[in-house]
Subunit: 437 residues, 2 copies
């Protein structure tokens, strides 16, 4: 068997006409009398095989004909171009080696028929093998790589922030508590931002990129209890710098997905024209204007209120690309936002609302750099100043204007893929009622 070179399906085109073998799984099998068409997957792609009864030993034909879905199998033969086949190539099968045959009496549980969502996520360890889920996670990988490449090639240093944190960044009601050696309580991070501000003063431009946690009791299509977030932070930067980097990042990320993941976008039947429209410059409007637009479209939002998901969707209808909304009322923003010097009642913060109703994809802004003002805000928000003493140190020792933002990876994946529900954007989603498998 050593005459057959082991290749991946993704590279089949480069080996047309050569004797090759593919080690994978039987994805599907179509029979047409004396010809069978096994659909093989190996993780890199899907390849259609053709096995003609008269051209192979009888045992080979019988083995393949009776093979069960998701059995592991090594298939040998030669590939050739075939426009009608998925991927553009087909294999003329010469022999098969069954590695493990799934028995008929305990068949693979996920069949081509429709299954309920609960069933599929109970079998998530197998569900990931299906074409659609595979495509989503390949795009997720592309997005994560694009994000890292963007920051790495623009002078940012990766400095990951701790998961175990003594205090909350935003409120305490949505914190997960961890029993730390029976001696003290620690919490799972909700954001690395406060730490990022420390590292930005050491490295100039930094980003952290890891899992974050919110114990939100909401069961919406936009919420996970465990999700990944990238958060850049820049010293000597203002709101305009934050907007520029946010826009560049989204444009770069979208470009990479369009460039490298056409196959997966096609599998998901994504309308790529919507992604192709995501180009700079993004429209930039103020919160004031956004409120007027929303009121004009029938929303009951009043100046001073925060946008809900429905408002974000309404707003996104006005634009073919993401829209940047800045200068929110300080009241609805976290304590650390720098007030606008010309209008102290609004904060130098910006939200980027994704197109097509995918909601807030980025939130960030400029942070308070003045010691006295920050201390006053901590007190006004009834936060314990001693817990923020180290954070206040950053304003005692070489304080500078600085800012940054956070982008949730799962929302970005849902948007790029055009998904209804965020649970498909991560391999093993964790939600209010889901912690398995």
């Amino acid at each position: 068997m050593s005459d057959y070179r082991r290749i991946t399906i993704a590279s089949a085109g480069a080996h047309a006409g050569e004797p090759v073998e593919i080690a994978g799984w039987l994805y599907n099998l179509r029979k047409s009398g004396k010809i069978i068409f096994p659909l093989l997957r190996d993780g890199s792609g899907i390849l259609q095989g053709v096995c003609v009864k008269s051209q192979v030993p009888e045992q080979v034909f019988e083995d393949l004909k009776n093979l069960t879905q998701e059995s592991s199998v090594i298939v040998r033969g030669k590939c050739r171009a075939e426009q009608r086949a998925p991927g553009g190539f087909e294999m003329d099968v010469e022999s098969v080696q069954i590695v493990q045959r799934v028995p008929e009496d305990t068949p693979y549980p996920i069949t081509p028929k429709d299954h309920g969502t609960e069933f599929l996520f109970d079998h998530r360890h197998l569900h990931l093998r299906s074409r659609r889920q595979h495509a989503v996670l390949k795009i997720r990988h592309e997005i994560i790589k694009a994000i890292r490449d963007y920051f790495d090639s623009n002078g940012f240093t990766l400095v990951d922030c701790p998961i175990f944190t003594p205090a909350a960044c935003e409120g305490t009601t949505t914190l997960f508590e961890v029993n730390y050696f029976d001696e003290e309580k620690v919490y799972l991070t909700q954001s690395g931002q406060l730490y990022n501000e420390a590292t930005a003063m050491a490295f100039g431009k930094t980003y952290c990129f890891g899992p974050t946690f919110r114990a939100e009791k909401s069961k919406t299509r936009r919420h996970l209890t465990e999700f990944w977030m990238v958060e850049p932070e820049m010293a000597y930067a203002d709101l305009e710098d934050v907007k520029r980097v946010a826009e560049e990042l989204i444009v770069f990320m979208t470009g990479r997905v369009l460039e490298n993941r056409q196959t997966e976008l096609a599998t998901l039947e994504r309308d790529v024209s919507k992604l192709e429209a995501i180009k700079g410059p993004f429209p930039r409007i103020s919160y004031d204007d956004a409120v007027k637009i929303l009121q004009g479209k029938g929303s009951e939002i009043q100046w001073g209120g925060d946008f809900g998901g429905a408002d974000e969707t309404l707003l996104s209808e006005e634009f073919d690309r993401p829209v940047m909304v800045d200068r929110y009322p300080s009241e609805v923003k976290a304590f650390y936002f720098q007030p606008d010097p010309n209008r102290p009642e609004v904060a130098l913060g910006v939200d980027v609302i994704a197109s097509e109703g995918y909601g807030e994809i980025i939130g960030g802004g400029q942070r308070i750099h003045d010691y006295d003002l920050l201390l006053r805000r901590i007190q006004e928000h009834h936060l314990p100043p001693e817990a923020f003493n180290w954070y206040l140190d950053l304003r005692r020792f070489g304080s500078v204007p600085h800012g940054g933002f956070g982008m949730g990876v799962e929302r970005a994946v849902a948007w790029m893929c055009g998904l209804e529900h965020i649970r498909e954007t991560i391999a093993f989603p964790r939600m209010l009622y889901r912690t398995r498998p």
Copy 2:
């Protein structure tokens, strides 16, 4: 002031002779009569300025002369080559703009004098600004980027595993427990491996890369409670594939550090000849041989026992590069290791022991792919089979030989940097008695 172009210190060489400004912090100040030498840092590097009293307005000279450590300042002037200066360039200062001056009566707490470890880690948010810590974290970034680049360019798909897990991978005594909505207990992941085995069957070659947690009550220089781990897993792979990828990864990572982080290695006074020796092929020995070597060197290890840190150090003395030790007694390995078909009492596992006494840097091997054998092992280890039902599914539906490994990032950083203690390898270390800042 708009005549001065804002540059980073790292790019100063490309702008020699031009009017430029650097936005940073005063790292140190040396005075010599009518000349002062401010040492500036901006996160990208350190630059020495030269300010001659007779050549600048009196106020500029006075401002700079009285500037306090870690005050934030924008310095303007022209750079020129100067071999004796750190980085090879010096700036002739023409003007300064103080952004925030650290007051004399509350000076920056970390001075050039020696501080105790506790003090430094209590001030970790500032400690990261010092040259040595800065160098370590730049090398950490380089290592993480190298790891990701290696896997991304070798056909691996990034599929991150959940942090919240219902069951333990290795023992239950070192698990951190999380209160999940008062309804059930979940645990923080210790390894993504079991999940990786599911994703490898979907993607062929995968890796996860995230934080992992161990509630170990040990206070050694090698233990953190929160640390980052990369774990690749490959379908249709055996022990030899695992060894090959482990070796390639270490060689690639070391090469990148040597190529891109010479400045930081010099700051750390790292003996780079030790890193240059890390080339393939690594010596490969069996556990049996390792035991004999250790006994010959005076260790009390007996066949059947696991190596302790002292044994690993002894063993590493025999080689100038990492050594791969394979086929450990099954007894000391986790339940999922594939036994050697020729000698069932040993497992097809491999540990890579770093050079210079940095201990086990990689552990991995081939997993059991046979359903009956895996079920028997789960029972022998008194693990609840129902919790592993999904994991057993991977042997019911298209099981194939497969394997992978885990590499701890912090140990890799300690090794590359030549550090005594692992606490310096991460921005905000979490240990038995350390959860702040």
